[in-house]
């Protein structure tokens, strides 16, 4: 045994070298997820101090019947469906703009990077001020344009939702743009030159060359953006705290509230497992699509 360790075969050496990484993964990925799933079968409320009590699948039955869960799931899916394509369109526009032959490239690149570098909660707080009924710049502009009654942006469910989606699109489109810009720069100039010789218009070049050549970058950007959209927390939390009522509460916020504010770790874990399954489902869908494209 010791001899084999001292002079390992190729196979043993491979396993030995993999072991640290595997152990690390076990510790920081497998164990927490396993513990989460384990906790989801318990009534584990820290407010009571009573200790965990096994309840089987009762938590999952409760989740299924919980209107707050379905409301949060609906909001999360809606935010994803609106902000992911939104950020893609805006991001593509920004990327095309940044790809123009400027004499100085860095100011454009910097402008692209800034919103991305800003912490999410900062963006949320800044936009909460923008949309504030009395002190906000949005209502100030509207008043100058002739609106006589200020709009209570963050106090009306529809408007609050719109404001949050706009903020998320603003915040995330620069990330989209960065990935797409990298993709744009990989497209050989010769393709456009050949198209020009053939008499293709700018519009035709965009649809026939740019978009197909950019597809791999678009898919990568979409995957990343969709996964983070499903986890949306910071921006609605800082802008509305889920309000008015729970009209803008997302799944991540519901989990946070249940676990941290209500100290109900068991039920919070169950909600987190449900969200994990949802993410897995969406990621699986993308991966299958990519598999087919490749």
């Amino acid at each position: 045994m010791l001899d084999r360790l001292r002079d390992p075969s190729e196979r043993t050496l491979g396993l030995l070298l993999l072991a640290p990484a595997f152990l690390l993964l076990l510790l920081i990925v497998v164990y927490p997820i396993g513990k989460l799933v384990f906790n989801s079968f318990f009534d584990l409320r820290l407010s009571g101090g009573g200790g965990p009590k096994f309840v089987g699948v009762e938590n999952y039955v409760l989740v299924f019947r919980d209107p707050d869960f379905w409301n949060a799931a609906k909001n999360t899916v809606l935010i994803t469906l609106i902000t992911v394509p939104g950020a893609l369109v805006v991001g593509l526009g920004l990327a095309l703009l940044a790809n123009l032959p400027f004499r100085r490239k860095w100011p454009v690149r910097l402008a692209l990077l800034l919103p991305w570098a800003l912490p999410l909660s900062f963006a949320g707080l800044i936009f909460a001020w923008f949309f504030h009924t009395e002190y906000g710049v949005v209502n100030d502009v509207m008043r100058r344009l002739g609106a006589d009654e200020p709009t209570m942006w963050l106090l009306r469910p529809g408007w609050a939702f719109t404001a949050i989606c706009l903020t998320i699109i603003w915040k995330t489109s620069s990330f989209m743009a960065l990935i797409l810009l990298a993709g744009l720069q990989m497209i050989p100039r010769s393709l456009y030159e050949a198209a020009e010789v053939d008499g293709a218009s700018r519009w035709q070049q965009f649809w026939q060359i740019t978009i197909p050549m950019l597809m791999p970058s678009i898919v990568v950007a979409l995957i990343f953006r969709t996964i983070t959209a499903l986890q949306t927390f910071d921006i609605p939390y800082t802008m509305t705290k889920g309000g008015p009522g729970n009209a803008t509460e997302t799944l991540a916020m519901l989990i946070h509230k249940t676990t941290i504010d209500y100290l109900d770790v068991g039920y919070g874990s169950t909600l987190a497992v449900c969200m994990f399954v949802l993410s897995l489902f969406v990621t699986g869908f993308y991966i299958r699509r990519i598999g087919r494209n490749a």
Partner: protein, 419 residues
């Protein structure tokens, strides 16, 4: 040269002798956040250390709000951590912590609850006794007050209103007279923050109704709760409260009152010093404090806050800790905190103490407000109770829910928690 060494040597030797002569006990205290003035508590601890050489007190401070502190302490106490001996906790917490078995019952150290708690203001005597056991002792009090512009009421020759309807009429008259479109009649907190729990409870209690019985079971009167919320909405319609009240947080009320844009404002006790002392306050010397108005046929009632000292059930120095808690809850300590930091006393007698009145003249009136005060629902799941009440109240004030819908929702959501 030798003499320079002599003094430290003697000091060192003396130190060694002291530590060996007295068994040194180190007590670790969680002393709240900056608003709970750990600096003043430190001074009291120093006095105690000087009088009790065998005790050394270390303090630890925590999050800025009651919610953040509760999250931290719940984690520590769930882990049965023995590192902290004494906790300063919000008045909404003794029921939860004691129910969970996290606090040491103090009867054995202090005596019979009825005798021990008698000198304190009734609301604190009640909130700190759980199931016949002393769960904690009051550190200092706080309450929601009705601040008003004395100068404006005098200008229009109007008396202090006694009911909410009178208050609305008074505010309206001043608003019309001043012709200032930015002048609000009344400022309350409608954002989904802890203050909104009181916004819900004030007009409800004002009708003589109770939210829960002594055992913590919910006794919500739906009709009265709906009337209470309609009361606020009526004032919004009348232009007394501003339309975006569901966006108003505690500091907004303070800042707008300071800027002279508010006639009546409901806020915690700390606001008084802000109005009086802040450089940007335009209302210095123009502020009065009065009891909260009542609903028709009801009586005035306010929301009480305040902080308590409790001994951890996991402490390894319980007798020493109980002795320190007893010291921190004496009239002398209460007076010190009142004079040095305008922290409100938990003894009625201290409010009228000559030195206290000299330092904080408005405490003379404050005593009556605190005596009429009530504590928020006591529940081991207060985090959830509070969240449900404030979120729903805010949604009703934002007019995304009808008052009766909101009340039904509060009842349905809390039925499981408060039983």
């Amino acid at each position: 040269m030798q003499r320079r060494h002599l003094i430290p040597t003697i000091a060192l030797l003396a130190g060694l002798v002291t530590t060996s002569a007295f068994a040194q006990t180190t007590l670790r205290v969680f002393s709240g956040g900056a608003n709970q003035r750990p600096d003043l508590m430190r001074k009291l601890f120093d006095q105690y250390q000087a009088a009790n050489p065998g005790v050394k007190i270390e303090i630890e401070t925590g999050g800025a709000t009651s919610e953040l502190q509760r999250q931290y302490l719940s984690t520590v106490l769930n882990a049965k951590d023995s590192a902290i001996d004494i906790y300063m906790i919000d008045i909404v917490n003794p029921a939860q912590y004691f129910g969970a078995g996290w606090l040491e019952p103090l009867n054995a150290y202090l005596g019979n609850p009825a005798d021990v708690m008698k000198p304190y203001l009734p609301v604190y005597a009640a909130a700190n006794v759980v199931d016949g056991k002393i769960a904690a002792l009051p550190a200092f009090a706080d309450a929601m007050f009705m601040y008003y512009r004395k100068d404006l009421l005098a200008k229009y020759n109007l008396p202090e209103p006694k009911t909410w309807d009178e208050l609305a009429a008074t505010a309206k008259k001043i608003q019309e007279g001043e012709k200032n479109p930015n002048l609000q009649g009344l400022s309350i907190q409608g954002a989904p923050i802890e203050g909104a729990v009181c916004t819900f409870l004030l007009p409800y209690w004002g009708q003589g109704k109770e939210f829960n019985d002594a055992s913590g079971r919910m006794t919500l009167d739906r009709a009265a709760a709906t009337r209470g919320l309609n009361q606020w909405l009526g004032m919004v319609d009348a232009g007394v409260i501003k339309r975006n009240v569901a966006e108003v947080r505690t500091p907004d009320t303070v800042n707008e009152f300071k800027a002279g844009q508010v006639v009546f404002a409901i806020n915690w006790g700390f606001a008084w010093d802000r109005f009086k002392d802040d450089k940007d306050s335009t209302v210095q010397g123009k502020v009065g404090v009065m009891p909260l108005p009542a609903m028709p046929g009801g009586r005035s009632a306010t929301c009480v806050g305040g902080w308590q000292w409790a001994v951890s059930a996991f402490s390894k120095n319980k007798p020493a800790a109980a002795k320190l808690v007893q010291y921190m809850a004496t009239p002398a300590a209460s007076k010190f905190l009142a004079v040095e930091g305008s922290l409100m006393p938990t003894y009625q007698g201290v409010y009228t103490d000559a030195e206290v009145v000299k330092a904080v003249p408005w405490f003379r009136d404050a005593a009556n407000v605190v005596i009429a005060g009530k504590s928020r629902p006591l529940s081991k799941d207060y985090g959830q109770v509070s969240d449900v009440i404030r979120t729903t109240t805010s949604a009703v004030l934002a007019r995304t829910k009808k008052p009766e819908e909101g009340v039904a929702e509060i009842e349905a959501r809390l039925a499981r928690v408060m039983r």
